[in-house]
């Protein structure tokens, strides 16, 4: 383990942290603009050209707000909960290849922090820990609405995990590896998995909405109760950390979907890299589009959907894939 490797890894981590923290802020700008467009409003438009500096204004507001710890909360857990959400979101990114390998000034850069051979499992597993943030925040808040939203978070958690796992099994059987780079290379030779495993793709996509807690599965924050669910008692940067975690998760799951099912960065050319970013942008856009188009569903409807509809479909998909591969 030489010094160059350590320095390179640290640089990569810092770059990923900075880019995706910034993207979380810019993501909110796009979310507002797109929602406004679909609802025939203007969205942010006063701060800077096209309201672009609204992001900076929000950032300043979040950072300079007083950090209030209400009386009656379990202080340590209350403080650590937002950190869990944000930290696990970025930890999950360690196994995602963001771009194909490229060369700068004669130095080959692998834009992935650690290519472990169980990449997909690692990303999804660590991302799942992120749901502990809302859970702990709600439980520690000493607030009834926060507690109710925590119960919903638990119901989301026990529903979607099964679907992500089962829907991935069929593509995994075809590729024979957990590494996201192997997935990418398999699709260069054999065509996109989206076409050979359409059902798995749709199931995984639905589960991704639950995983990131986006509408129509936005049960962790009770919008219809006009409060922010688990985040009701939070203020300033602690609430901002929840926010960064949620948006970073959306970007990372978009990367995972593009790499798993839509060919990833292809053969590794510049066009392939741009295509990957384009696919990620598309998936991110669909997250926002769905939020504008659909209402939230109830927790019992989510559990009904996951356990009674999606899980049998996923199992059938696995059985069919197994038979096709065998004969």
């Amino acid at each position: 383990m030489d010094t160059a490797f350590i320095i390179e890894t640290i640089v990569k981590i810092v770059v990923i942290l900075l880019i995706f923290s910034a993207l979380a802020g810019i993501g909110t700008y796009f979310e507002r603009k797109i929602l406004a467009f679909m609802q025939r409003r203007l969205g942010p438009m006063y701060v800077g050209p096209f309201g672009l500096l609204q992001v900076a204004a929000d950032g300043v507001k979040l950072f300079t707000k007083e950090d209030i710890i209400p009386t009656g909360v379990v202080a340590k857990i209350f403080k650590i909960a937002p950190v869990i959400t944000a930290a696990t979101a970025f930890m999950a990114a360690a196994a995602i290849p963001f771009l194909p390998t490229f060369t700068v000034f004669g130095y080959t850069v692998h834009p992935i922090v650690a290519d472990i051979n169980v990449g997909v499992l690692y990303v999804l597993g660590v991302m799942a820990i992120g749901l502990y943030g809302p859970l702990l925040g709600g439980l520690a808040s000493a607030n009834k609405f926060a507690l109710i939203s925590t119960a919903r978070a638990a119901s989301v958690f026990i529903s979607y995990e099964v679907i992500t796992g089962l829907s991935l099994l069929a593509p995994l059987m075809m590729v024979g590896s957990f590494s996201l780079i192997d997935f990418n290379n398999y699709q260069v030779d054999n065509g996109w998995l989206l076409f050979s495993q359409p059902l798995a793709f749709i199931l995984f996509w639905i589960a991704a909405f639950a995983e990131t807690g986006r509408t129509p599965f936005h049960l962790v924050a009770n919008d219809h109760e006009l409060i922010d669910g688990f985040g009701t008692e939070y203020s300033g940067m602690r609430w901002g950390l929840f926010f960064i975690g949620e948006y970073a998760n959306m970007f990372f799951i978009s990367f995972v979907m593009a790499l798993l099912f839509c060919g990833g960065f292809g053969d590794g050319s510049v066009a392939g890299a741009l295509a990957l970013l384009g696919k990620v942008a598309f998936f991110f856009f669909v997250f926002l589009w769905v939020r504008a188009a659909w209402p939230d569903i109830r927790p019992d409807q989510l559990m009904w959907l996951c356990w009674k509809v999606l899980m049998p479909l996923a199992v059938i998909n696995i059985v069919i894939t197994g038979f096709v591969m065998m004969f």
């Binding site: 597993g125 799942a128 702990l136």
Partner: protein
């Protein structure tokens, strides 16, 4: 050097977390420390190069502790301390020390007598998950299948126990009907 540092760091963290789990009076501390300890254990698998087991450790135990949280939410006011009948703190120290020594003795015995050999040595050029598959579906096929059947039995039993009246939903029926059912439940 890195491995040694990582090992001692995570050993310290794991033991601290489980110590908090056992000794604290606050249900949330206990559950969070339990989850954290379980996740820190996965670090040892990563250090040993068993990536697959490490990730499985994370996935399985986050889910398992999540179920504990659900129970904690139902049974306790999690913002208050749980008053336990504590016999003596010496008991905790005595028992945990004894257990630790016992475990160390069990694992050190074969190393001391130099009898340690791998029944299934690492196959070169095969991935981590494939190796587990090899062992699971050859040597340990029967225990693996028996475990599967036991889980199936547990699932069926759970559905039978919890599945009464599952076809009717209080949220979907009329207010009056729901009232009558709640009234009946209260009387019986």
């Amino acid at each position: 050097m890195f491995e040694a540092v990582a090992f001692y760091l995570f050993a310290f963290l794991t033991i601290t977390m489980f110590y908090i789990t056992v000794t604290t009076q606050q249900a949330l501390y206990a559950l969070t420390a339990l989850a954290a300890g379980m996740i820190f254990i996965s670090a040892f698998f990563f250090i040993l190069g068993a990536d697959f087991l490490g990730v499985v450790q994370i996935i399985v135990y986050t889910g398992a502790v999540m179920a504990l949280y659900a129970f904690g939410m139902m049974f306790f006011d999690t913002t208050r301390d749980v008053v336990e009948k504590r016999t003596s703190p010496q008991m905790i120290f005595g028992m945990s020390t004894l257990a630790a020594i016992l475990v160390v003795a069990i694992f050190v015995a074969p190393i001391v007598s130099d009898n340690i050999t791998a029944f299934y040595p690492v196959v070169e050029g095969v991935g981590n998950s494939q190796q587990i598959g090899l062992v699971l579906f050859t040597k340990y096929l029967v225990p693996f299948e028996v475990a599967a059947i036991m889980l199936l039995v547990a699932m069926v039993a759970g559905i039978v126990l919890a599945g009464k009246k599952m076809d009717r939903s209080l949220t979907l029926m009329d207010c009056d009907d729901a009232e009558t059912i709640l009234q009946e439940n209260k009387e019986s």
